[in-house]
Amino acid sequence: MSTALEKFKKYRKPGYYDKFDYHWTMSIDLDRCTGCEACVVACQAENNLPIVGEQQFAMRREIKWIRIERYWEGEYPDIKLQFIPMLCQHCDQAPCEIACPVFATYHNQDGLNTQVYNRCIGTRTCAVYCPYEVRFFNWFTYEWDEPLEQQLNPDVTVREKGVMEKCTFCIQRIRQAKDAAKDDSRRRVRDGEIKPACVQSCPTEAMVFGDLNDPDSQVSKMARNPRGYHVLEELNTTPSIVYLKRVHTDG
């Protein structure tokens, strides 16, 4: 236990994150987001998310790495609706990482909150600790009706029963871009070279993905926008997702 605690303290040392090669960050501009759900299907297709079926869905066992939440304000006829896409925030101080007894979820060199499927023993503690409710448990080994399995993305593992899963920032795309950069004798990935599936599909370009370590990257510029904020900031999870709040004009 003491070793784990020591490791954990070391891991929490201030400035630790400055050493990362990349600090992958996403900005989501709520003034552009229309709630059209294109990102939801893009993620489903890219990451081999299962169809859980009506019965399981009714028990809230759906698996959607990204979802659109909606919040009403006011009463009819002065009523407003706002959308906010919710996905793993890749917190730099992630509550889920503290929780895992087997270190199946940890922080990698790029500032990603990573889930190692074959380490996971399915205690589901991380899902309880996550204030954003973006971790999903495989209650079953889900099947694809033939021939729907032919669509499965060969770059992404298909998960089995008993494993927790969540948004990876499309780590397979990050790896490919890094490999391509290496093959190209470049030391670093260019800004904008990596687009997670949700970012790629977004019709209004509400989402931007990039490296926060690079002050000139588009996402760094977005993160400096005065409209920027973090969801549930008071919990000090230091999320890697910067939301840009919606502009309200009255009258």
């Binding site: 059209c36 759900e37 909606r70 009463e75 021939p147 729907l148 669509q151």
Partner: protein
Amino acid sequence: MSNKINRRDFLKFVGAGTLGAGAGFLAADASKMTTEFLIPQVNLPEDYSPGIATWYHTVCTQCSAGCGISVRTREGRAKKIEGNPSHPVNQGRLCALGQAGLNVLYNPDRIKTPLLRDGERGSGSFSPISWDQALTTISGVLGTLKIQKKANNAYLLSGGVNGHLHELFALFMDQLGSKNYLQHEFSHPASLYAANKACFDEDVLPYYDIRNSKYLLSFGADYLGAWLSPVHHSVSYGHLRQGTEQRGRCVQVEARMSLSGANADEWIAARPGSEGMLALAMAHSIVEQGLYAGADAGDWKQALGAYSPASVAERSGISADRIVRIATEFAAASPSLAIGGGAAGASTNGTANLVAVNVLNYIGGNIGEAGGILFNPASTFSIDAPRPRASYQQMLKLFASLRGNDAEVLILHDTNPVFTLPAAANVKEAVMAVPYVIGMSSFMDETMALADIILPLDTYLEAWGDNIPDPGVGFAVASIAQPVVKRLYDTRSAGDIILALAHQIGGELPANMPWTSMENYLMEMWRSVYRGKSDDSSDQGFRKFWTSILESGVWGESPQQQDRPHQAMGRAMLSAVGMAQPSFAGNESEYRFVMQPYLSLAFHDGRGANLPWMQELPDPLTSIVYNSWVELNPKTAAELAIGEGDVLLVESTVGRFEAPAFIYEAIRPDVVAMPIGQGHGNYGRYASGRGSNPIEILAPETDSGSGGLAWSATRVKISKTGRRVHVIKTDGTTRDLGRNILGQKDGHA
């Protein structure tokens, strides 16, 4: 039989060590066969390298917008659909339904071979036959009609096809000797075409330049959800909001808040059918305030005299002050744009409503201006003649002739009118009255089940075709659709079937339709486009041109300023302007609510209901999955003691169905709404037996200007059945409750 490969088999294959990347995939495939091959392909196809993705550009046909798509394939399988970045319609982006195209291709319920009816007509009992047998039978029937000079008794009803497939259909029916070729699509905005014809004398829709607008005033048009070209509009919307220094403002007028309404800065819950009057009252206000400086201001003052904000206030349920304020903002913003559609175009006065919206644009000085209404150029294609898209009235005429004694053959292509037209139209009975019905479709559905013989179609990801987006994007654009994977089953494309039939029917048909395949036909047609555009007539030059279009997925010409005579337009609008009160089927005292069905984001007009991803996609405004629901205002619900999940009996003057209630915060208390798409009886394992279809109980009201179905003109009454179901949705609490999730409170900047 399971195709799962067990672990030991997998290790065996990997242990062989000679396969390299992609082994698991090939092995899984090989395990299905009795003879297993360790090295299935010694000579790989040229576009096939294990472990490396190949991308193909083609065109999406999930709705009629015509977005360009790029399909990622690996080892010959389609893996992901993304938008084609060079396509001007969607600019690399794609909607939820478009991305679910993979569920169409790999759908387990596809029709895999030609089918011949072996039971009672309409019983849905079929047995497989060969293509030879199917085509010989059909060409025999059609050939006999032709010889007997009775070919005009053959009818072709197609879904909304565009490009050269439409041309081929027209040519085939013409050669056969029939004038009965129609296209049916529920979402075809007949009233919008009629209104633009009346105002601008244009057969194609203009380009609504949302991107450059600073004030977007929408009357019922759900431009972000289902209206015309939602992905293109969404790209434009992003730019309007945050693309420039000055953020554009959006105002939405509609009785039930749509996705566009939810994103608007201001939502105006006007009475259904009063949208046109509101637009005219705003025009009135602009003219009265002297904000319109045109030479015909006097004429307009007179023409709009009857539509003062005060007189419209009561009929629309919107205060005169508010009308004047919006009008003033609209006139002051530069450029501004008004658009109309959806329920506003689907009232009995739909065309008049949309003419009124055009008038507002004219008075606001937005016509022919960037950020307003721009015009599309005349197309370089011969096929740009208007497609025979049937209004509801024309469909009724078609059904009347099908019921008549003369009708002999009906060919149905990729359309499901039994589902997408009201029960009052008696589609089923009309189809059943035809002695011989030929179906062409990838899926069994309610209409195909009535056929005598069914020809299975390739999905759009397996077939050749082309597409000219309508509405256009302000300049000439076309794209070619190519197969992205080898066909999965023994299916053919509609074009290939038509050409094969033409060849077998004989007579002068083979000479006039000499092409060997759809691909060959397309190339010949594009060769003539190429010749018209280039001095180089060599085959080599054309090949290069053809390959370049396939590589980029799109062909276009640089934009040219499109001018239209302003004065004539003003005169046309002055004579076209005039509002009738909307009328509704059912008296108000008994049938209290106006029912507004709406196109679902996931299912469109119902075609997406057989896609598992779409069934499991939360509706953007309610987060509901897997079922139908009826939306009620909270006040109405409280008054009738209805809670979420209470199963309601919804009755119109012509029909009834049951569906669970959902309390929807942003709908007028005198309106109920329901998404279209569920309620299929025979549409595969994912769609059948779920929810109800609101189209079914619509009264057969039409828009007087266009003959289109007025689907927002039916009144209904609702009552509780006493049963209650669990409404499955992702949302928990839909109020922020001080959590500051949206970052609006101070101190969180």
